[in-house]
């Protein structure tokens, strides 16, 4: 009997190891866990060794549940940000991400969390208010005593929340990326980046339109069929984790041509009208065709429908993918100091006819809400934390790391990155010094993953934007060999300048528009239509021929219509009308 169990245990362990070796995902999870335990032990060691505890350790430690629908991480915050929050407020952040059924379960349990970050201001946010899960910030002296900076600098965003959700008298928080003016635009993240070195290698052919990319990408893959480590390379690699109402990567093709995602429609940010996604001439359909053509040509990663965001990041880092939709996806994973020094890198190259959507700044804030749970034991301490995150010090430190270690102000009061700071940008796995919390840079980043002020806001301390790309010190820094090639090819210095000078962008004006909540009946139709569209879209992407593609798309449309697509679109069109009116209000205000 003993032998039997021993054999079973041994075999199970062997099995688990086998699974762990192959799946990069499970591997990274286990390393993350070991990092975490390592770091927390380091953190405790550090704490006890610290002769004079800085800041607020006089107060007892307060462990708060941060339910963040934006987090890509579960567990206690570790590393430099954990140390910062611990030293300043004696807070420990327990991050709880969302997933299937998490919101429903937490709502039913009666406590959503202490600090709650909503992914959008839709049904879940209003349900939480209705169920009494959220604290009214206007009640008592919470804002006066503990949220002075919020009260002073974010009053417009607060009152907007109160007017929209609290009948004008109760405020349940504020949205992300708040700006003090709606007249400028945020820096661009929707633009195609491609492996510029390979593109030059094949002679920098002109790209006239979306479909024009395919031939160029094919030539690039033919020229360099394998990655840096010798694995097969693809032009395009997609992932389904972030699909919302429709398939995320497909709707982004709309964002390359001036259309913002808007339910089952794409919102034309110039004309302020909406276009249903399943219309034959919509950019959603164009996107489907684009990816399917890529698949038929053999340059789309066959893993696309089954892999995760993390898998894709790993592929970009190894140089296995030549095309990226977001500036922070491909380039930030591939453009390490080593690749750049070797003359390799991903940079923006848009088709001639593109009009990439750039978001205008918004004084009312976006739709990712900061809120406090009504059953938090010490709401004032959570308010203090949010308040700090709204100060220049908080924005700078939570974004760029501990002051004096990864960045600092120079003699003229301008911000600059230290050697370590520069290293962390090139390689997010750079180790942080012990006095800053230790561990790796990226493990220590704020995992709650929400912003207060937009980083395109001016930092009153330095007079420059919070966004380091616009710091004088950064602009002066000598660019890498790879970047110089790109800069020379287009005679521009930055990506924003590229879009601006070559007339490749349109601005989506920020406004006070908030979508209405849908009735229960409409919502259930919406869910099923959305599932039909997403599944149909993925099948269409993998269609083996144009004929097959046409058939799958026709089936998808028929099924979506059967579930009530037309009714959903009619509702979206009404909402689009309201958005257009809100945009008109902002434009009138700006004049």
């Amino acid at each position: 009997m003993k032998n039997f169990w021993a054999a079973i245990t041994a075999a199970l362990i062997a099995m688990a190891m086998l699974a762990g070796c192959g799946g990069t995902a499970s591997q990274s999870v286990s390393t993350a866990q070991s990092d975490q335990s390592e770091q927390s032990s380091q953190a405790t060691a550090l704490q006890s060794a610290d002769p004079e505890p800085a800041g607020d350790t006089a107060r007892e430690e307060y462990r708060i549940d941060v339910y963040s629908q934006l987090a890509n991480y579960a567990g206690e915050q570790v590393g430099w940000f954990a140390k910062m929050v611990k030293d300043k407020f004696n807070l420990v952040l327990n991050i709880i991400p969302t997933g299937d059924g998490v919101f429903a379960t937490r709502m039913s349990s009666g406590k959503l969390g202490d600090l709650i970050l909503f992914g959008n201001n839709g049904q879940e946010f209003t349900d939480a208010i209705e169920a009494g899960m959220l604290l009214d910030w206007y009640e008592g002296d919470l804002l006066e005593s503990y949220g002075k900076d919020i009260k002073e600098d974010l009053s417009v965003a607060l009152q907007f929340n109160a007017d929209t959700f609290g009948g004008g008298t109760k405020c349940y928080g504020f949205g992300h990326n708040v700006a003090t003016s709606s007249q400028y635009s945020e820096s661009a993240f929707y633009h195609p980046d491609i492996r510029f070195d390979i593109y030059q290698e094949i002679g920098s052919p002109e790209i006239a339109d979306l479909m024009g990319y395919l031939d160029v990408l094919k030539q690039m893959v033919d020229a360099r069929p394998t990655s840096d480590s010798g694995l097969p390379a693809y032009a395009i690699s997609l992932f389904p984790d972030w699909d919302g109402d429709t398939v995320m990567s497909v709707k982004c093709m709309g964002a390359f041509y001036g259309y913002d995602e808007f339910g089952f429609t794409l919102y034309d940010v110039v004309e302020n009208t909406a276009k249903p996604v399943l219309d034959e001439d919509s950019y959603y359909m164009a996107g489907l065709k684009f990816f399917n053509k890529a698949f038929q040509m053999g340059i789309l990663d066959p893993d696309s429908a089954t892999q995760t965001f993390q898998d894709v990041c790993t592929k970009y880092a190894d140089g296995r993918v030549y095309y990226s939709i977001f500036s922070w996806l491909g380039p930030s994973n591939y453009n390490t100091p080593d690749s750049l020094a070797a003359g390799k890198g991903m940079f923006a190259v848009a088709a001639k006819d593109q009009k990439n959507v750039v978001y205008g700044t918004n004084i009312y804030g976006g739709n990712r809400i900061w809120s406090i749970g009504s059953r938090a034991e010490q709401p004032e301490r959570i308010m203090e934390l949010i308040n700090w995150l709204c100060t220049p010090d908080g924005v700078m430190q939570s974004t760029h790391g501990p002051q004096g270690i990864t960045w600092d102000y120079d003699a003229n009061g301008k911000a600059y990155l230290t050697e370590l700071g520069i290293a962390t940008i090139g390689d997010p796995n750079t180790a942080m010094p012990e006095e800053a919390g230790g561990g790796l840079w990226q493990d220590g980043q704020a995992k709650m993953n929400n912003s207060t002020f937009t980083t395109d806001e001016i930092n009153p301390v330095s007079g420059e934007k919070y966004n380091r790309d616009f710091w004088e010190s950064e602009l002066k820094r000598e660019p890498s060999a790879a970047k110089v090639k790109w800069q020379e090819a287009f005679s521009v210095l930055s990506e924003d300048e590229y879009l601006e000078n070559l007339n490749l962008k349109v601005v989506a004006i920020g406004s006070d528009f908030v979508k209405d909540t849908r009735s229960a009946d409409l919502e259930s139709k919406y869910i099923q239509v959305s599932t039909a569209i997403k599944d149909g879209s993925w099948r269409a992407i993998y269609a083996s021929s144009d004929e097959d593609f046409g058939k799958i798309v026709a089936d998808m449309i028929e099924q979506a219509k059967g579930f009530g697509y037309d009714e959903c679109v009619a509702w979206d069109m009404e909402q689009a009308q309201e958005r257009a009116e809100a945009v008109a209000r902002t434009l009138a205000m700006n004049e």
């Binding site: 079973i8 799946g23 299937d100 429903a104 709502m107 039913s108 049904q123 899960m133 059967g562």
Partner: protein
């Protein structure tokens, strides 16, 4: 210290009828807790329920959610599709339920005890691996670039580019049954091995004396000896036809194979929790109530079959 004593000096005893009732009580409590109490959840199907918000604040909508199934042909088609998948995959499971018998019989014929134990251990282990791990194992085998199968095919020159096997939507029912068998074969054989051990050895000796070979003995002694056990298990699995779980299908599901892999349990889960929305619970509850209808229909069907074949009713 003597036991509790009544004033008359007689030992206190509970009357037999109450004693039996007390013995029954734990089971009544269990059944109430796990079989009847959850039925209270059915009330969500009659409201526009959203979690966290008390039911009394929610709108009462009567049979609206049921009517949407009747009124929307697309929804009917969906439900027919998932019920078909459920019954097909459960049916295939039942059709292959003789495999553990064959396996147990053959296993018991192995004379080398050491080898027999090794085989039995190796085939039993998969039962203890969760479906999530089974999927990661499948992923290691079949993933496009690093997968064992793709590597092998590429090295041998059959293909030049990797194939995403897990995305293929052909023969999903058979593939899922095969995975289920791989996982459950050894475990399913345990009961039969025990039954084989219980067969009277004298029968074999008598058969050998009569000149029966190994296959004769298997066919005429072992198999008939196992049939009663088999029929009990078969009855149980027919009753569970509609409950074929969802974790296996949840992990293997993707956009390509969804049409044929989605079973009723998985469909209800996706409607209620899957899409990141919480307003789906009432409709999901309404659909899941269908399951009870199917189960009751099955029960009556089995009952009339039993009447027809054996002349006695099981209800």
């Amino acid at each position: 210290m003597s036991g509790r004593v009544t004033p008359k000096g007689k030992r206190f005893t509970i009357p037999v009828k109450y004693r039996l009732l007390l013995m029954l009580l734990p089971f009544v409590i269990l059944i109430t807790l796990f079989a009847y109490l959850p039925l209270a959840g059915w009330r969500f199907a009659f409201f526009n329920y959203r979690p966290g918000i008390p039911l009394k604040w929610s709108d009462f909508v009567g049979f609206d959610w049921f009517m949407t199934i009747v009124n929307t042909p697309a929804r009917q088609a969906e439900i027919v599709r998932v019920v078909k998948n459920t019954l097909a995959m459960s049916g295939l499971g039942i059709l292959t339920s003789w495999c553990p018998i064959a396996f147990a019989v053959l296993l018991s014929e192995i004379k080398n005890m050491r080898f027999r134990k090794v085989v039995q251990t190796l085939t039993t282990i998969p039962n203890f691996i969760s479906w999530v791990l089974v999927y990661s194992f499948a992923f290691v085998l079949f993933s496009v670039d690093a997968g064992l199968v793709n590597r092998l095919l590429m090295d041998m020159g059959f293909i030049t580019r990797g194939i995403n096997f897990l995305l293929e939507s052909d023969h999903i029912w058979l593939k899922m049954t095969a995975w289920g068998m791989w996982k459950g074969l050894g475990w399913g054989a345990i009961m039969y091995l025990a039954a084989i051990a219980g067969i009277d050895q004298e029968l074999y000796e008598a058969a050998r004396v009569d000149g029966a070979g190994r296959f004769r003995q298997m066919w005429n002694i072992t198999i008939p000896g196992l049939l009663p056990t088999y029929f009990v298990l078969l009855m149980l699995s027919i009753a569970n036809l509609i409950n074929n779980g969802m974790d296996q299908y949840l992990v293997f599901r993707n956009a390509m194979n969804k049409d044929t892999i989605e079973v009723l349990d998985l469909y209800v889960y996706t409607l209620g929790f899957g899409s990141g929305t919480t307003t789906g619970i009432p409709f999901a509850t309404a659909v899941s109530m269908l399951k009870s209808i199917v189960s009751i229909t099955l029960l009556f069907a089995a009952n009339s079959l039993s009447k027809l074949l054996r002349g006695e009713s099981i209800i």
